[in-house]
């Protein structure tokens, strides 16, 4: 598939600038992107087909239940900071609700026969690209508000499948997904780069980093953001694993935990990326796969992995924070006290939607910090604004910065010294926001905080 941008902004695809701090395209102003060359009718056809294929009882129940109360808007950070009604979460699904009624719902026959619901047009999908990708982080806060109990975020993920099939996704998301699919990493952390980095990190930090062990109890994976931008997290992982005396390894055939297939809506790529880790874990007989500080990686493997694999996974899947909490609970991990106050930013996919709500807090408790919870916190904490691929989508920057103000206010209000999170994507969003607003708070990694405060045995 080749990339092209859509009307009315005809533009040659520009080379990606990988050297910039973040993957970026020079001119992000245009409204929507298109991939591939195909007639408009085919785009719609593909979107609808993908949409129909995906659909099941759960999504149908959701589609049938919306009463247009508009309350989900109150939960969405994009609406909260703009008060623009188009950011109402359920409105982001409007073409897909339309398509559902016309193509798939119980009365589809009537809707089609009487043309009560118009056929979805390519223009409409193009218009909605921005709503589905730029102004939704799939954080699922709206899903906690909906009085009907509709999981709106889950529907957005399904809508993205349709958009991907139609070649109607933001170009940057499309290209990083392609890169991940072809090179093994969205950000250039190819196996060769990873290997070089590990060698360099091992030397620099005097830490042993097992790679490609044929047998290991634990397989660790990293996110490309960490490999390329926060290598300290790689070191921290190694130091903690070694400290605990765990039989563990990284593997070049399955080290990358991020999954842009999930974020972009490319289900085939999602499966491919997931299967790399699954196969690597099976190959080394791992009993546990530890996922890095990455939110959507957790969703991709912990909750969707087995369904991609087609059977229950033959190993446990844990987020690193869950693993650390377990070690603390079992008394294996002893930590120096950090005599500071901290506040915890809940990564949506790990906490709200992932269910690892208390684990990071247990670790923070073990670190002895004075935890100042934000308001709101845990399940209803505000999203960093960069999840769901938004931070990788440069044209959404302006909007994203607006939402970031919410986070800054929230963190300022706690008065805590250390903002901590356990998601590299959130961290990246915070760093970017910090630079943009010249903010004086730096987001910290829970993993690195633990690694920095290990009580080494005297022996």
């Amino acid at each position: 598939m080749t990339a092209s941008t859509g009307q009315p902004h005809t533009r040659k695809p520009e080379p990606l600038e990988f050297d910039k701090p973040r993957v970026s395209i020079a001119t992000p102003e245009y409204r929507y992107d298109m991939q591939g060359e195909m007639p408009e009718a085919e785009r719609v056809e593909r979107a609808m087909k993908s949409f129909v294929k995906d659909f099941g009882r759960t999504a149908a129940i959701y589609m049938e239940s919306c009463i247009h109360c508009g309350m989900c808007a109150e939960a969405c950070h994009f609406y909260e900071v703009t008060k623009d009604p188009k950011y109402t979460p359920i409105w982001k699904l409007e073409p897909f609700k339309q398509a559902y009624k016309r193509e798939y719902g119980p009365f589809a026959v009537i809707y089609r026969a009487l043309n009560l619901k118009q056929k979805v047009t390519v223009e409409r999908l193009q218009e909605w690209q921005q709503l589905i990708y730029d102004s939704c982080t799939v954080c699922g806060r709206c899903s906690l508000m909906c009085p009907m109990g509709i999981d709106i975020a889950a529907l957005v993920s399904q809508a993205r499948h349709g958009m991907y099939a139609a070649g109607l996704i933001p170009h940057e998301l499309w290209s990083v997904t392609e890169r991940a699919r072809l090179e093994g990493s969205p950000l250039g952390a190819t196996p060769k780069v990873f290997k070089d980095r590990l060698e360099w990190l091992s030397d620099d930090h005097e830490v042993e980093i097992p790679l490609d062990e044929p047998d290991a109890d634990v397989l660790c994976a990293m996110s490309s953001i960490e490999i390329m931008k926060y290598p300290d997290s790689v070191v921290a992982t190694a130091r903690i694993m070694n400290h605990l005396g765990v039989s563990w390894t990284f593997r070049l055939d399955g080290y990358e935990a991020t999954n842009f297939g999930l974020l972009s809506g490319n289900a085939a790529a999602q499966k491919l990326l997931t299967m790399k880790i699954v196969d690597a874990a099976v190959a080394c007989g791992a009993k546990t796969v530890i996922l890095p500080e990455c939110g959507h990686a957790y969703t991709a493997l912990r909750w969707m992995g087995a369904n991609m694999y087609g059977q229950p996974l033959p190993f446990r899947v844990m987020h690193i924070a869950e693993f650390l909490a377990e070690q603390v609970r079992e008394g294996k991990l002893r930590l120096k006290k950090v005599a500071k106050s901290a506040t915890f930013h809940d990564p949506c996919q790990v906490v709200r939607r992932g269910g690892a709500i208390e684990a990071p807090r247990e670790v923070l408790k073990a670190l002895g910090v004075e935890l100042h919870e934000m308001y709101p916190t845990k399940g209803t904490n505000w999203c960093c604004g960069g999840g769901g691929g938004v931070v990788a989508n440069h044209r959404a920057d302006e909007l994203r910065y607006k939402t970031f103000k919410l986070k800054m206010e929230q963190i300022e209000a706690t008065g805590a010294e250390l903002p901590v999170t356990t998601c590299a994507n959130c961290r990246q969003t915070f760093d970017d926001g910090q630079a943009h607003f010249k903010w004086d708070r730096k987001m910290h990694s829970l993993l690195e905080l633990v690694a920095d405060n290990l009580i080494e045995d005297e022996s």
Partner: protein
């Protein structure tokens, strides 16, 4: 055949039939769709505990209350008014008792084992009036609130109308609105209810059924993951 007889007879039979056909059609058409088994290892195997979301989601979390309190309060006001008048106004109970008798051959009391209570007319009148006021308030809100205005469609306004009409015609019939013959008011009331029944399966009024399915489904999925409900 006068209007009242039409409303009590053929119109009622058709509307009840359409209601039943439509509701089953829509519910089965959704519930019989394929549902893939989730193979991931549950954090909480007792996913059914998530069904508590059905009750939990009846009131928003504190964090969301500020922006939604108006809608919630008004929503409850008109739902409670509507449902209490529907089920506890003596003439309505007679209607349901007659239906029960027709279906089962026994009276309502024999069917359910206890006497269906009715509320004094004064209370019903008050609740209906509150319901009417709340419905007017939510209509105005739908028209002036930018979010609701944007996302609203024909279904929203028509469903509002078919909910509003039986309340108003019912109150008018009960009050023997001056100058209007009772049998005509009663006929209008019945016809408005029949309009509601006919529209019910095809519009958003179906949430009366799907709300439990949607909340329950989400509750179980989230509970399984240990996610926030």
């Amino acid at each position: 055949m006068d209007l009242l007889e039409f409303a009590r007879g053929p119109a009622l039979q058709w509307s009840v039939s359409i209601f039943i056909v439509g509701v089953l059609w829509r519910l089965l058409g959704v519930f019989l769709l394929r549902s893939k088994k989730d193979l991931s290892e549950p954090r909480n195997p007792a996913a059914w505990k998530g069904l508590r979301l059905i009750a939990l989601r009846s009131w928003p979390r504190r964090e969301f209350l500020e922006g939604t309190a108006f809608g919630e309060v008004m929503g409850y006001a008109f739902h409670v008014g509507f449902l209490v008048s529907l089920f506890f106004f003596a003439p309505h109970v007679l209607f349901f008792a007659d239906v029960a008798r027709g279906l089962s051959g026994t009276d309502l009391q024999g069917l359910i084992g206890f006497r269906w209570p009715t509320l004094p007319n004064g209370i019903i009148t008050l609740l209906s009036a509150i319901s009417v006021a709340a419905l007017l308030a939510v209509l105005v809100h739908r028209l002036v609130n930018p979010v609701k205005r944007l996302i609203s469609n024909f279904d929203d306004y028509f469903s509002w109308f078919v909910t509003f009409a039986p309340l108003v015609t019912g109150m008018a019939a009960f009050a023997h609105l001056a100058g209007w013959p009772y049998e005509r008011l009663l006929a209008y009331h019945l016809l408005s209810v029949e309009l509601l029944l006919v529209w019910f399966p095809f519009g958003k009024l179906m949430h009366a059924f799907t709300i439990f399915a949607a909340r329950g489904t989400t509750g179980m999925i989230f509970e399984r993951r240990g996610a926030s409900l």
